[in-house]
């Protein structure tokens, strides 16, 4: 495992990139506006791309550079662009009836991070500097997943739900980049294209919803139609 030989400079670079991406997930939780979610997601993807590149540089994994470029291109540019396009076609600019207000979801999110930290601390067997990075990466991976679930469950707009899914996926990707770098390149590319297809399908679904149900909020979709 390459983290066993990490020095303090590398550790601080990895941890600050990871923590910044966690903060961007909180920006999504704390905002009402759909556009802010997309911008925060794009910034988060760029940070994760930088993280891949940093791991590739310090760990000597050449293929991670390619993955960093693909991540920045797909997650940082193409997906946000598609999402912004979908949003500009809708006449919904913000989350209207949140189950949890932004401030309460921030507090719940903080509790989830604590929970993730407890789990990560329990799972860690490394010591010293490597241990800190492992615990931090695990904490952020688990808390991004939990925050993604939180967004999926407390937000009603279709766009917020897809972004919750994407945040969840970003969390797994971030964790895998730090903890098990050097996954087969093919798998990474497959994941990226899966995401692209998810968003594309989703764009069609949203148009269908607007035409047939007149809304994209899951609050209104309560009636089963045969």
């Amino acid at each position: 495992m390459f983290l066993a030989h990490v020095n303090s400079l590398e550790a601080s670079i990895f941890s600050s990139l990871a923590i910044l991406s966690l903060l961007l997930a909180f920006v999504m939780l704390g905002s009402h506006w759909l556009r802010n979610y997309v911008y925060a997601f794009a910034a988060e993807s760029w940070l994760i791309a930088a993280l891949s590149a940093a791991v590739g540089y310090f760990g000597g994994y050449r293929e991670l550079y390619a993955i960093a470029i693909l991540t920045a291109l797909f997650r940082g540019l193409v997906l946000p662009w598609l999402l912004v396009r979908i949003i500009s076609h809708l006449n919904v600019k913000r989350e209207m009836h949140a189950v949890l207000q932004p401030s309460s979801s921030l507090v719940v999110g903080a509790l989830l991070v604590m929970f993730a930290f407890v789990i990560a601390n329990y799972m860690n067997h490394e010591t010293a500097t490597a241990g800190h990075v492992v615990v931090l990466a695990l904490t952020i991976m688990i808390s991004l997943k939990l925050l993604g679930f939180l967004m999926l469950s407390v937000r009603n707009e279709a766009i917020s739900q897809i972004l919750g899914l994407l945040v969840l996926e970003n969390g797994i990707f971030l964790g895998s980049q730090i903890l098990v770098p050097g996954m087969p390149m093919l798998i990474e590319i497959v994941i990226l294209f899966d995401l692209l297809i998810i968003v594309a399908c989703f764009g069609m679904l949203v148009r269908y919803l607007v035409v047939h149900a007149g809304t994209t909020s899951s609050r209104e979709l309560q009636r089963l139609v045969g």
Binding site: S12, S15, S103, L106, V113
Partner: protein, 315 residues
């Protein structure tokens, strides 16, 4: 020549007492300058205090002894806190072991509590509104304040502000650690709320959404001057804690020579210049939040404090 410790301690208190109106004047001036108007003079708060001290004292008929005593309690509390924190010298001086960070926080809150009672005491409608709003804000802000203080004490493994100052001076890696950066952000949110600044408090003085002004609406003359001075000192003290304990621990007198003290005052004013400009930027770009969104900046502060505590466990 090294000044005796007692003189240094008196210098700390005098510094807070005398320079607090200057900070208020600077913020008001800078806000107006940003909006391209001239703004009041830098020493306008001093003139206001002078004017109020020479005015007649009018007491409401319904007021009791609490109304009398509250300004003195608030003012004295603000004179006690500078003894406990590093204002000019970075080492403990006589009586600074009276209380740790939580003790200082308690004395600060005691002042606000006295004003709160006074607002309720006279039976005026606005006083009641102001007091209930202030209590609601207190309920939202106190957990964040306590968590920020706990976070910084976990980082330094001590409850004394002097130890925190030395720790941050000593190692840059602690200064730039995520825990410390989160604590700075969390305390900044608190600073805006506790010093009556914009996301929550209104920028004009007397209007329907006022919080702190409403509590002291019934006061006049010298008692009002004491209350205003106390609130300026509270702002000054919170800025000191933010600068010397959290954000900029550099540039404090170590030996305690008169020249060192003077340099310390000058650097303190420079640090405040930076923080006050940040506050002015927030005040300019941010509009006042609705009543039902008051918890949002405080929830963000709470979040930062929790994140700081989590990441301080990683060090």
């Amino acid at each position: 020549m090294v000044l005796p410790d007692l003189v240094l301690q008196i210098c700390q208190v005098l510094c807070v007492l005398l320079l607090a109106p200057l900070l208020q004047g600077f913020i008001l001036k800078a806000e107006e300058r940003v909006q391209r108007s001239r703004g009041p003079s830098l020493i306008q708060p001093y003139r206001d205090l002078w004017k109020l001290f020479h005015k007649e004292l009018v007491l409401p008929e319904s007021a009791s002894w609490i109304f009398w005593i509250a300004p003195f309690v608030a003012f004295t509390a603000m004179l006690i806190v500078p003894i406990l924190i590093p204002v000019l010298t970075d080492r403990p001086l006589p009586l600074s072991d009276m209380g740790d960070m939580l003790g200082g926080g308690m004395v600060l809150t005691l002042g606000s509590f006295a004003i709160l009672l006074a607002g309720l005491d006279s039976g005026n409608v606005y006083g009641g509104i102001g007091s209930s709003r202030a209590v609601m804000l207190g309920i939202l802000a106190e957990p964040t304040l306590i968590l920020v203080l706990v976070g910084i004490s976990l980082l330094a493994k001590a409850m004394l502000p002097f130890v925190v100052n030395h720790l941050l001076l000593g190692s840059l890696s602690v200064y730039w650690s995520p825990a410390h950066v989160f604590l700075i952000l969390g305390f900044f949110a608190l600073l805006l709320v506790e010093t009556d600044r914009l996301p929550i408090h209104s920028s004009t003085h007397i209007e329907i959404y006022m919080i702190d002004e409403a509590r002291i609406l019934e006061y006049s003359g010298p008692l009002l001057a004491l209350l205003k001075w106390a609130s300026m000192m509270k702002q000054f003290i919170l800025y000191i804690i933010f600068c010397n304990v959290f954000l900029l621990p550099w540039g404090m007198s170590q030996l305690g020579t008169p020249l060192g003290q003077l340099g310390s005052v000058v650097t303190l004013l420079l640090k405040f210049l930076l923080v006050a400009l940040a506050v002015v930027i927030v005040e300019t770009v941010q509009s006042r939040l609705r009543f039902y969104r008051y918890q949002e900046p405080l929830a963000a502060g709470f979040l930062f404090a929790v994140l700081a505590i989590v990441s301080s466990q990683l060090l």
